[in-house]
């Protein structure tokens, strides 16, 4: 991938370093705000959101140990069993660079329902971003931001993505996802 040394932001470096490790252990996607930012949206964020497939403890432990060796520290606990319990309960666990409790951070969650499974199934690497990261699809991100999240920031993220992909968005897929969101997340 052609790229200069200075064209990676603090967020890009953090995300790619983390995802490089994730790639070896689990099926993952990066979702939400960082998707828009990686498409050029002019804003920063403190946290990057990652969804991973549900894995057993042993597999997660291997993932966690490699993160630990690479200098990623989980904020909620140093005990991997506790961290795994958080994930199993549906909570997010947050990793920062060792030696700091400051952002950026990666918030990791297990896929929790059919919608998350679909996000993982339709994940994409997106050449436009220049990043070696699996993202949930643009349509998925737009649907979640417009139908579920809906804060001004989320609606602006969705607008940014719609502009970037103007004329190249599968509106039927967005509507299908919005229907699923209503059924599964807004019931």
């Amino acid at each position: 991938m052609e790229r200069g040394i200075s064209d990676r932001s603090v967020l890009d470096e953090f995300a790619e370093d983390f995802c490089r490790i994730a790639e070896k252990h689990v099926k993952y996607i990066v979702v939400s705000g960082y998707v828009a930012i990686s498409h050029g949206r002019f804003r920063a964020t403190e946290d990057i959101d990652m969804i991973i497939e549900r894995v057993d403890f042993e597999k997660f432990n291997n993932f966690h140990q490699e993160l630990d060796k690479a200098g990623f520290h989980c904020m909620q606990s140093t005990k991997v069993k506790d961290i795994y319990e958080y994930l199993e309960k549906g909570d997010g666990v947050r990793y920062v660079r060792e030696g700091t409790l400051l952002p950026p951070e990666m918030e990791v969650k297990f896929a929790k329902d059919e919608l998350d499974e679909l996000q993982l199934k339709t994940r994409k690497k997106i050449p436009f971003t220049g990043l070696d990261i699996w993202f949930s699809s643009i349509e998925m991100n737009i649907a979640f931001k417009e139908e579920l999240l809906k804060s001004p920031k989320d609606l602006e993220d969705a607008r940014h993505l719609r502009k970037i992909y103007e004329g190249d968005i599968n509106e039927n897929f967005i509507e299908e996802i919005k229907r699923k969101i209503k059924k599964e997340r807004l019931k």
């Binding site: 064209d7 932001s9 603090v10 949206r41 409790l101 950026p104």
Partner: protein, 68 residues
């Protein structure tokens, strides 16, 4: 919280800019902005570390972030 119309107009104008220039250009502009935000935040935290009151605030922030 609502934002005025000009905010969304900026979002759209910026997206048009991103589409119209090579990635190298918008990426450099965006990276300078993002890195500056983090540098500013880090230097604020560093200044807090230097005073007793600041360290208390930082400890509370850390506890809050760990519990969050």
């Amino acid at each position: 919280m609502t934002r005025d119309k000009s905010h969304m107009e900026f979002v759209e104008r910026w997206a048009e800019h991103v589409k119209s220039v090579p990635r190298k250009k918008w990426k450099a502009e965006q990276t300078a902005f993002i890195n500056a935000v983090f540098e500013k935040a880090n230097s604020f935290y560093e200044r807090l570390e230097k005073t007793k009151e600041g360290r208390v605030i930082l400890e509370r922030l850390r506890e809050a972030r760990e519990k969050d």
